[in-house]
């Protein structure tokens, strides 16, 4: 295999582009794709304050590194979810990444701040763990971006993530979600602007980017995610991609070009009548927001009426707390 750019030995093939790349030109390709996504969807400007949602996995660390390479200043936010050794390891990886590059990493620890962890809290609240985790992360990332005065919340969703969510929402015709599945969600009604600059990169490429750049990331899958539908959709799409390279890209970007607009009105109705949560002040259509209801049902507690600010916390004895 030879690099499509320099004809030197290639290290990776990207079949949907019918191209092979050496290490140097693969990194250039990643830069090009992220820059194109930022510009094509008008995601943000160099003067904007960016907050990256950091998990310690390949995607969030790759986008934080890519933004830095492209000249953007961005802080990171890590949310500790109390998933035993997995959370401990992911925090260590996120901290090491930030320290090595002298980047600012904010931390919120759910067990010590809200008194519950995802494995036990989701069971008590009778929610699927991935659902409780996603709800908690969305709430805390939004809150931290708003309270911290950030212009944009950046997430590491890649092409595979977006194609898989689209696949699931289409399979079940969740039309209320389809109009919101965009690379940019504008700020409104107390929600921060959210962007996904990795939508033009498959997750095989974000993983390769980390390996080539020498970025240590958490390889193992979250123990709570085993068997979830999102992963099965990804596997199904990868089987299609194997037979038809470019299928994931065509599915997602074809949706954006030709179909997303049909669902915009229904999705906007979902956000009408938003008020503020009587408990934490977050935007919600109910009296109490979904996160505060989760905290209550999970046997936790809210820290105070003013909500939580994203400041570094001492994790103390809750780290390595055994999962019961």
């Amino acid at each position: 295999m030879k690099c499509v750019t320099c004809r030197g030995p290639a290290i990776i093939d990207i079949r949907r582009h019918n191209s092979n790349f050496c290490a140097e030109h693969f990194i250039e390709q990643c830069h090009r794709q992220v820059r194109k996504a930022i510009e094509e969807f008008s995601m943000f400007e160099p003067s904007d304050r960016l907050l990256v949602a950091v998990s310690g996995g390949k995607d969030s660390l790759a986008i934080w590194d890519l933004l830095r390479d492209l000249g953007y200043d961005a802080d990171g936010l890590y949310v500790g979810l109390g998933i035993g050794q997995y959370s401990d390891a992911s925090l260590d990886v996120a901290r090491a990444f930030a320290e090595k590059r002298q980047l600012k990493l904010l931390e919120v620890d759910v067990p010590s701040t809200f008194g519950f962890d995802i494995p036990n809290g989701s069971r008590l609240a009778k929610r699927v763990p991935c659902s409780a985790c996603g709800l908690s992360k969305r709430h805390l990332f939004d809150e931290a971006a708003i309270n911290g005065g950030y212009d944009v919340l950046v997430t590491g969703h890649n092409l595979d993530d977006e194609a898989a969510v689209l696949f699931g929402n289409t399979l079940h015709w969740h039309t209320e979600y389809l109009g919101r599945q965009l690379p940019v969600l504008p700020a409104r009604n107390g929600f921060p602007r959210k962007v996904k600059p990795l939508v033009r990169l498959a997750e095989r490429e974000t993983a390769a980017y980390c390996i080539v750049k020498g970025i240590d990331y958490l390889i193992d899958e979250c123990p709570m995610a085993a068997g979830n539908k999102h992963l099965s959709y990804k596997n199904a799409l990868n089987e299609i991609e194997r037979m038809s390279p470019g299928a994931k890209h065509s599915f997602y970007f074809g949706f954006l070009d030709r179909a997303a607009g049909f669902f915009a009105e229904e999705s906007s109705i979902d956000r009408e009548g938003l008020g503020t949560c009587a408990s934490c002040g977050a935007p919600t259509t109910a009296e109490i927001c979904a996160f505060c209801r989760l905290v209550d049902r999970a046997g936790g507690r809210l820290p105070d009426q003013s909500g939580v600010s994203a400041v570094p916390v001492d994790l103390g004895p809750t780290r390595s707390h055994p999962v019961r």
Binding site: M1, P9, A10, I11, I12, D13, R15, N20, A23, G57, K58, D59, V128, P129, C130, S131, C133, G134, H157, D160, D161, V165, A202, E203, R204, T206, A207, A208, I211, V212, G214, I219, D220, E221, C222, M224, A225, N228, H230, L231, K234, N235, N238, E239, E241, R242
Partner: protein, 66 residues
Amino acid sequence: MKVRLHNPRRDLEIEGPITIINLLDKLDLNREAVLVVRDGELVPGDESLSDDDSIEIRPVISGGFR
């Protein structure tokens, strides 16, 4: 050769020579869902591995509910 797999983590001994593409087919792994790493570096699909090699087949799929 020594082959390390993840989720769950396990080690296999596979006889060489064999190309990466044929190895992944033999293990019934989808090329779109893994990368092959040797000594911290990516190994391209057409490269032939020998009995002396030690590689890691790294999954790239991640994520729960988004």
